[in-house]
Structure formats: C-alpha cells, structure tokens
Amino acid sequence: MRRFKVFILIALCLCIPVLVFAAQTGQTKKANSIDELAKMYDVSSCKMCHEKIYNEWAKSLHARSIYGPETSGRTAATLKTTIINGLMEWPHSGVKKPEDVKVEHLMICAKCHLPQLQDATDKVAQEIVKNVYAFTAGDEKAAEQLEKLNINCLVCHNRNAIIHKWADGYPEKDAVYGSKDGAHPAPMYSKLKKGPVQKEAILCGQCHGLGPNFELENPSQCATLYGTYLWAYTAEGGQEKCQDCHMHKSGLGHNMQSYRSKEMQKLAVDFHVEVLPHWWRDGTKMIPQATVKVEIKNRAGHAIPDG
C-alpha cells in the first residue's frame, strides 16, 4: 500500500508540471477530425459583429489556406506533390505510403498553411491526406472539406498573436488580440487585449518567412519575403509595415492580397517604357532599329516575386 501511495505521489509530481504547462499554453483536447478542428477554430460568430471584416477575409487566400485559389485548389495539389515527391521518396521520413503521413509530416506545409494542425491528432492528418487525394481525383466534396480549414480570425488574433511567449505570455484562450485592451462581448472570447505585434510586420513574418524553416526535421522553404523585407527594405531605411500596404493603402482591409489583386499590382510596381526608332550607322552600313528601354521599379517593401 505504501508503495502504491509513493507511486501515486510520483505520478502526481510528474503530472503537475505537465498540467501547469498545458494551462499556460492553453492546450486543450486535440481534434480528431477535420470537423472537430474546424469547430475548435470556428469564426462564424465573429461575423455577427464584424461582418465587413469577415466578408473581406472570406475573399482572401487566408480563408482557403489548405485548399488554395478557388479556381485551382493549387495548395491542395502541392500537398499531394509534397507527399509523393518528398515524403514518400525520402528514405528516413517514415512515409512509404500516403497512409503513413502524420501531423509532423504535414507541418512542412502546415506550419504556415494550417498552424492549428498542431492542435490535432494524426487522424486529422490522415483525413487531410485522404481529402487531398480525393480532391485531385475530382471529388468536389473533398474540396469543400479542405476549405473548412484556414487561417482565420483566431489564428492571427489569438493563436499566433503572441510570438515572444516568454516575454509577453501565452495567448489566453478567452482573449482576442487587437489594437486595445477592454471587454469583448462574445461568450467564448470575453477579453479584448492589445496584441504586442498586431500592427507589426513580424506578425506576418511568422509565415511569410525568412527562408528554410530550420526548426523542422526536414526544412522546407516556401516564402523568403520577410527576409527580403528585413535585409533589403528595412536595412535601406524602409519603415512601412506589411499591414500599411496590404490592408490600408490598398483599401482591401482583411482581404489581404498579393499578385492576384489589381490594387496590389498598381501599388507594387511602376512600369515605364520608351521606344526610340533610329538609323544606326556603322561605317557605310546603315541599320534601322528601335531601341526599347524598359524600367521596372519595385515599390514594395519586399522582393518581387517571392519564392
């Protein structure tokens, strides 16, 4: 009996730090299905008070971050390529067939396309894989299922709103991080907190990245945008933030766009051409020609294009 009590005590001692950590980090039960994960990150109630913002966001690629552009579903297709040409080809990935794919494997893409996948079990990873394969085989319901997962209000205004967690604390489960402190009249998110980086480029830089993601077992590199922003824009004295152009100057608000949007195209690049027709003389030889001078100015705070 005494041995049993000691065992219980040791078990408790081991559990308490885990429970405290879980409480600090706001960890909850993990989602076991796409529907459960979508429910955990359901933002339909945000629309009740923030309809304009919600509708703007719904037009953005953030709203279909796993599926990709409405017309092509290119992101989902690239997930499949990653499984076939990457995971299944790499001898040490542990993936021999699509059924072997787990959350840790999908994080190569999900780090940015669906960071909340970390709040899900491998069952969800498997469901995503099945739907990706079904979508590429023409199953529209699979596409709809994938479109339930996205970068939404709760990702930027809660889950990923705090980057320096040791300095600023872990995101509170019942808080929405925005521009000021106060009350937030929503049952599940009753607090409004001033987000330390909500207006800063680093908020976007979490995903629109620096290059290889070295924290991954097998680094991937999708975006290098924040790298060029830091080292080629701010390094030259640039002071604007991503939000200044992509939300405010463009007038697009939460419909944050890039190369697909006419507004962003106009803001991003100045294009000027001059043509000079003339005869060029080389000794006795005369050559009629047109000299075309093209000037392209990148007005953005990052390189164009990204990649």
Partner: protein, 116 residues
C-alpha cells in the same frame, strides 16, 4: 517583349525572368521546385524592394536585298513596327496556369525610309 511588322509578322521576341532561384536541399547546383525541397538560394533575379531594373533591347527593322544595277543593296523592307512590352506574373512559371498580366505597353513606331 515582341516587335512586329505591320502585317503582324513577329521579327523580335525576348523575355527576361525575375525570380529567386532556390537551391535543392541547400546543396549542389540543382534548382528546387517544390517548397518541400527548397532550402537555399542558387541565385536571385527577383526585383529587390525599392529598386529599379533597367532593360534595353535593340530591334532591327527587317531588311531585304534589292538589285540596283550590278549591285545588290540592303534596303529597309518596312519602316514601321509595333512594339509590345508585357510584364507578367506567372506563379506557376507558365501562361497556362493562373497567369497575371500586370502591365502592357504598345507603341507603333516608324523610321524614315528616305535620306542618306
């Protein structure tokens, strides 16, 4: 960019590509294609922030051989040309998938056809 004569015949075509050229797994001389295999940069021809790139193209008007007496002379075939310059954003590297035309410039130009 292209140069075309009045009858629509293309007499000049050239393109420039601006993009980061990622390195496969951060080693060697191969470019990586998918994000899962990119981990470095072989070269970068993308347009840096707040920088201007300048390109110059010289397009020759078409000439033809004409016999004048005993001599064969090169003379201008057409003194008119249409110059088209287009700036495309091709997220998938081709014009078949989601191409975006950002800017387009067209101008009809002429050179004199008489004089010495």
């Amino acid at each position: 960019m292209t140069g075309k004569t009045k009858d629509g015949k293309e007499i000049f075509k050239q393109s420039k590509i601006y993009m980061p050229i990622p390195q496969q797994n951060g080693r060697g001389d191969r470019m990586g294609r998918g994000p899962y295999e990119k981990s470095g940069m072989l070269r970068d021809t993308s347009i840096p922030p707040h920088k201007t790139v300048h390109e110059t193209f010289d397009i020759a008007f078409p000439m033809e051989d004409v016999k004048r007496g005993d001599k064969i002379e090169k003379v201008i075939k057409s003194g008119e040309m249409t110059v088209d310059v287009e700036l495309w954003y091709l997220p998938y590297g081709n014009k078949q998938q989601d191409p975006f035309l950002w800017h387009k410039y067209t101008k009809d130009v002429k050179v004199t056809t008489t004089g010495k």
